[in-house]
């Protein structure tokens, strides 16, 4: 508890707002079935019922309660983004560490492959691959994870390169430790902090990519609630003056802004940057 209070007091106002937003959405995601007044795909009323009437946020394009969809959407979209980001970090970090510790051909081959893959814009790459392999949820996770493993590889490799030249790594090598030991016992503990700061930022990118993909119809499939798909589904309402599609879009914006506010402070502290005169 004392640590929590110290952590809180350390944050500036914008970081506190950020933390508040993140905690709010995380709560929605975790307790979705208990918080949502209606079911995820339950049709409860007419099409596009207005905000503030019987349903707090109105109903969507086929008469489902928008508030409930938003709450379940928080759960689905955030879970997908967290799992995909974790996959990309695991893959990127393992490959990056291997490249840094092995060096030579391994490093060359891995780095050139990453150079090529990273040159295809992420949205284009994921659109093509997903249209080929389908949009089942595990496939989504894997495809997004692989695509985002590329930038993570570069960061992890750069971080590991700096650690790899340290004397204690040299000492471990001379002791005859294997690749696995070097990676997990020597490099990983020292690379954890910079990589953790990067995780939040990458989570935002992945989250926005998922939102764009499902907006384009290549993300989580109906009837699963998903914020990006909800924007697209309700988009026609805009022309009739309904503001319904703006709600899920605002949720996406709010969550990524919240995370950014929080990370801004963190990166600032971690890098020891002084912005003052």
């Amino acid at each position: 508890m004392r640590h929590l209070i110290a952590f809180w007091e350390d944050l500036n106002i914008s970081a506190r707002i950020g933390l508040g937003i993140v905690v709010f959405f995380a709560t929605c995601a975790i307790f979705a079935p208990w918080l949502a007044p209606y079911g995820e795909s339950e049709i409860v009323g007419d099409v596009w019922e207005p905000l503030g009437g019987e349903f707090m946020f109105g109903t969507d394009q086929i008469g489902r309660d928008l508030l409930s969809r938003l709450i379940f959407g928080a759960r689905n979209t955030m879970a997908l983004a967290i799992v995909s980001t974790t996959v990309s970090f695991t893959m990127g970090a393992v490959l990056g560490f291997i490249a840094a510790t092995r060096g030579g051909m391994t490093d060359q081959v891995l780095s050139r492959v990453v150079d090529v893959v990273i040159s295809i814009p992420t949205l284009i790459a994921s659109l093509i691959v997903l249209s080929a392999v389908g949009t089942a949820t595990p496939t989504l996770v894997l495809v997004i994870g692989i695509i985002y493993a590329m930038p993570v590889y570069r960061i992890a490799r750069a971080v590991a390169m700096d650690i790899e030249v340290m004397d204690y790594v040299e000492a471990a090598r001379l002791r005859g430790e294997g690749l696995w030991w070097l990676m997990t016992r020597e490099i990983l503990p020292n690379a954890l902090t910079p990589l953790a700061a990067e995780f939040g930022l990458r989570f935002c990118f992945v989250f926005l990519l998922i939102a764009s993909l499902s907006f384009l119809g290549m993300g989580l499939q109906p009837p699963l609630a998903d914020w990006g798909a909800m924007v697209r589904g309700n988009a026609d309402g805009i022309a009739w003056g309904f503001m319904h599609p703006l709600l899920p879009a605002a949720c996406i914006a709010a969550l990524t802004i919240g995370i950014n506010l929080l990370i801004d402070r963190w990166v600032h502290k971690a890098s020891g940057l002084r912005d003052d005169q």
């Binding site: 295809i120 093509i128 119809g217 599609p245 879009a249 802004i257 912005d275």
Partner: protein, 319 residues
């Protein structure tokens, strides 16, 4: 190779060509995975094996992969992207027209976004940690973090629906005059401008602020120069190389951001083309468009690299 500028550019160009080659192989492999069932998709599940084989022969996908790849690459280098499966039209012609529309969007956006972004960045660096800086930084952080379609729909709701000043759907065609065209594409341009200004401003601010920590700036400060003079006369010349990089990288960013925005405003550009092609499984169109996107990306990154090095006076003037 004793010219230092050439010595920098040539290896980078070689890397660029290597990467483009790799990308074309990768895209072909991706398309290959897509093309597996395209004939059964066209003919339906119940089609006779012989009909499927005939269809595959007609599309030319019954021959080995590497032969088709070499053929395709040869044709593309001559500007022939094949014909669309959906409407039997020349893919190259379609891409050319759409690319023109997308470039129109990118150029009109840059005209607004580049000066505004750099100006705001300099202002924020000049008055850092003041109210102005915090306002600019928080606003731009919000536009960067929001998905493009959020900004797009808000603008659409305000300017097209509530006020009725601008069209919600960007019907652009070649018969339009420049002003008519600008009006039709005003909303996508505004959306892209908002998003890119934010990026440029933040990157400009960051590069100037990091320069301000260097000793010669400290010296200028100790001489008692005005902060505005320090930034404009002392910091900015050295900040050009990162700023050039900011501009070019944002052009590259625009190419991707434009996909979603084009879909929102039904703008007939390259992004909308690839989304339609992906949904229709129109392989030659996907292959061609993806290649164009990736080429633009690689070329712009290369350009950013080379330009920022050329802007570095230590490389231009040999000792």
């Amino acid at each position: 190779m004793n010219n230092p500028v050439l010595a920098i550019i040539v290896p980078r160009l070689a890397t660029g060509i290597f990467i483009l080659f790799g990308v074309s192989v990768l895209i072909t492999l991706g398309i290959e995975a897509l093309s597996g069932d395209v004939c059964s998709a066209i003919l339906g599940q119940a089609a006779e094996p012989s009909t499927v084989a005939a269809c595959q022969a007609q599309l030319g996908i019954d021959r080995p992969l590497h032969i088709r790849y070499i053929e395709w690459l040869g044709n593309v280098l001559q500007g022939d992207f094949g014909t669309s499966l959906a409407n039997n039209r020349e893919v190259g012609e379609q891409i050319g027209k759409r690319l023109g529309n997308t470039l129109f969007l990118a150029v009109s956006t840059s005209i607004f976004a580049v000066p505004v972004g750099i100006f705001l960045g300099v202002i924020a660096a000049l008055y850092r940690n003041s109210f102005i800086d915090h306002t600019i930084s928080t606003t731009t952080l919000s536009t960067i973090a929001s998905p493009e379609f959020f900004v797009a729909y808000i603008l659409m709701a305000i300017f097209a629906v509530k006020l009725g000043w601008l069209p919600a759907i960007s019907n652009v065609d070649s018969s339009m005059g420049i002003f008519e065209r600008l009006r039709a594409s005003a909303l996508p341009v505004m959306t892209l401008t908002l998003v890119t200004v934010a990026h440029m401003m933040r990157m400009t601010r960051a590069s100037i602020v990091s320069l301000l920590a260097s000793p010669y700036i400290e010296m200028a400060k100790l001489k008692g120069l005005k902060p505005s003079r320090i930034i404009v006369k002392h910091a900015l010349p050295n900040a050009w190389s990162p700023i050039i990089q900011v501009i070019v990288l944002n052009l590259a960013y625009m190419i991707v951001g434009v996909v979603v925005i084009e879909v929102v405003f039904v703008y007939p550009g390259l992004g909308a083309l690839i989304v339609d092609a992906v949904l229709n499984r129109d392989l030659p169109v996907i292959q061609g468009t993806a290649m164009v996107f990736a080429t633009a990306y690689v070329v712009l990154f290369l350009l950013a690299d080379i330009l920022s090095m050329l802007a570095n006076p230590r490389l231009r003037h040999r000792r």
